[in-house]
């Protein structure tokens, strides 16, 4: 019997589920997630939906920034584009949600393509600035294109339907989001077992070297932008459905920071990290709320400054993780796992 997990072929190395144990634990997790809405309360369910949306959104960001190395400060713009596209397609053209959601993803991907074109030759700071400028332009269009987006007044989202079934309760939205999260995770996991995904990683590690070994850098950068914005577009349309009302105030620059924080906290450039980061960063405001309620008897002014407390903690979390734990929660998990694998002889 082998004393550890040893890989003897490339097939072994590229397996999605490395061991039987992983499969079993995932099956158990899946079962828990399926029964979860029947035990959870209204609010917990709403939070779970937010986590699911965040997982989809941060997966997109991770594919672009974590795996392809292209910094994006315009992520909330793509979420906004997806949210507005699906809402408007349903409201104005009467297209049902199950069609308008992928169409919103495609529209967002098209905008990603538009952004990618001027960004192809940019790197580092200049790329960050260009994506940031893109965010400003999208935000401006949403606020000022009154006839289409109703400006700062916002839009009420129509009740979604999937193939004629109305999705009218949080439980149904939960299952919709859950299935999309699973699909998104499987796609992302598989993407990095294919040539395309490996090309992304090569572009991240050194784009000049990647070009020299025959990778079409232009093509893969555009593709990464499009996949990222497709994910964000889908996440945005789900966000619109969950909130049932959207306005420009839902898609601020703070949202971009929140998503970047999720990526960094979870572990940049890891799929599992995206999930961990999404859970952590969605739970964080709840923790802050508890903290605030505990402190508010002594410091009553904190109640009105909730948003500051929240954004300040996002900033602090980003700084602390970057300094002390650059590999994120996923790195912590790996370390813990390694420690227990050889316990009690953990000094290998």
């Amino acid at each position: 019997m082998p004393s550890g997990q040893f890989k003897t072929s490339y097939r072994d190395d590229t397996k999605i589920f490395q061991t039987l144990w992983v499969k079993m634990w995932l099956a158990l997790l899946m079962a828990c997630l399926v029964v979860f809405p029947f035990f959870a309360g209204q609010y917990l369910l709403y939070l779970a939906n937010l986590v699911g949306i965040a997982v989809i959104g941060v997966l997109g960001l991770n594919i672009l920034s974590g795996f392809t190395g292209q910094i994006s400060l315009g992520h909330s713009a793509f979420l906004a584009l997806g949210a507005y596209a699906s809402t408007l397609l349903t409201l104005r053209l009467g297209i049902p949600f199950w069609l308008s959601m992928p169409l919103a993803g495609l529209f967002s991907a098209l905008c990603g393509l538009l952004l990618a074109l001027p960004c192809l030759r940019l790197r580092g700071l200049y790329l960050a600035i260009a994506t940031f400028a893109f965010y400003f332009i999208v935000e401006y269009s949403i606020v000022h294109w009154n006839s289409l987006t109703n400006g700062t007044g916002g839009l009420t989202v129509a009740e979604p339907t999937v193939l004629g079934f109305p999705i009218d309760s949080d439980t149904k939205i939960y299952f919709l989001i859950l299935s999309l999260v699973v699909a998104g995770l499987i796609f992302a996991k598989n993407l990095f077992r294919t040539e395309t995904g490996r090309a992304f990683i090569a572009v991240r590690d050194n784009d000049v070297a990647a070009e020299i070994i025959g990778i079409n850098v232009v093509r893969y950068k555009i593709l990464a932008f499009m996949i990222c914005s497709f994910y964000a577009g889908v996440a945005g349309s789900l966000y619109a459905v969950t909130l049932s009302f959207i306005g420009p105030e839902h898609f601020t620059f703070l949202m971009t920071i929140e998503y970047l924080a999720m990526g960094l906290v979870g572990g940049i450039g890891t799929i599992a990290g995206s999930v961990l980061g999404a859970v952590f960063m969605t739970a964080l405001p709840e923790a802050i709320r508890l903290l605030r309620d505990a402190l508010s008897t002594h410091y009553p002014f904190l109640v009105s400054r909730m948003s500051d407390l929240q954004s300040g903690l996002y900033g602090l979390v980003i700084i602390l993780f970057l300094i002390f734990e650059p590999t994120g929660l996923f790195g912590v998990w790996l370390r813990v796992k390694k420690y227990w694998l050889a316990w009690p002889y953990s000094y290998r």
Binding site: L122, F136, A261, Y314, G315, L316, V317, I323
Partner: protein, 299 residues
């Protein structure tokens, strides 16, 4: 062009120069940090804002006269800059660009929320020590605060220019900017230069922030003005101090003109947007900015 239109144009140009000199100050700090430490500082606007609020706190809450309060603000900002460099940026030396950019974004978020927590989100009026009596220069209305802004910006530009050009410490800073390792081998304390760069940048930003507060009051969203440095430095080039100032002025003037002539068609926000649209177009054709140094990348 008749005289009324000409008058409007001149007035717009003038307000562009006034706003542009504040942008130039912030961009100047940004470039000083980038040049000597190769850190892209997304928190420049927040450091500016913190300086402005600190000055407000001294003058309005503690009734300290403006001039000593201003000097105290500069000391505070210098210490803040050094602290930030020491605690947050020094552990990041050698980390990828992405992480360094992200940590300054995190810092920006943190500082903005600290200001929001302490002083709230309402606009706080900051009474100007220069009085309210406006005067006219060939028909154009100027307030003494605006005049003081431009004058102090010019003084700071000249002082910094002289510092980098003629002093030994300035030479050491330029040497560090040129190549950190070589500077280190020549006996320059790179660590001190890094601290110095952050201190200078914060002080310059605080001056900009105080004048901005005097002209338009204080609110946490004023930190977004720090983002205007990006169009400015991309236009002027990341490495050039003169370029930063010119870029800041260009952004101020183009904004003022867009606000004056285009907002009738596109709505009020076009003023803030114009610089970013110009920026995207410039980057499309010149990926290293108008005057930026083209990097040669080796594998």
């Amino acid at each position: 062009m008749d005289s009324a239109n000409f008058h409007i144009l001149m007035q717009l140009l003038l307000s562009g120069v006034i706003a542009g000199s504040v942008y130039g100050l912030i961009a100047l700090g940004f470039v000083v940090i980038y040049k000597s430490t190769t850190v892209v500082n997304f928190a420049q606007g927040e450091i500016m804002m913190l300086g402005a609020y600190f000055c407000y706190y001294l003058v309005v809450t503690h009734k300290i006269p403006f001039l000593p309060a201003f000097v105290l603000t500069l000391v505070f900002s210098a210490l803040l800059g050094m602290l930030v460099e020491m605690v947050i940026l020094r552990p990041m030396i050698g980390e990828p660009v992405f992480s360094v950019i992200m940590i300054t974004v995190g810092l920006a978020t943190l500082l903005r929320s600290i200001v929001g927590l302490i002083w709230g989100h309402d606009t706080l009026p900051f009474p100007s020590p220069f009085g309210d009596a406006t005067f006219e220069i060939s028909g154009m209305v100027v307030s003494p605060t605006e005049a003081a802004t431009v004058v102090s910006a010019v003084i700071l530009f000249l002082a910094l220019f002289a510092f980098f050009r003629y002093t030994k410490l300035g030479l050491a800073t330029r040497a560090t900017a040129f190549d950190q390792r070589w500077a280190f081998l020549m006996g320059i304390s790179v660590r001190k230069i890094f601290s110095l760069a952050w201190a200078i940048a914060s002080v310059v930003a605080a001056v900009g922030g105080v004048f901005l507060g005097l002209m338009g009051g204080l609110e946490p969203n004023m930190s977004f003005i720090g983002l205007k440095v990006f169009p400015a430095v991309v236009l002027g080039g990341l490495e050039s101090i003169v370029g930063a100032v010119v870029g800041g002025l260009l952004v101020g003037i183009s904004e003022s003109l867009a606000g004056g002539y285009l907002s009738g068609w596109f709505g009020s926000g076009v003023k803030e947007l114009s610089a970013f649209v110009v920026l995207l177009i410039v980057l499309m054709f010149r990926p290293y900015g108008l005057f930026g140094k083209k990097e040669i990348i080796r594998v």
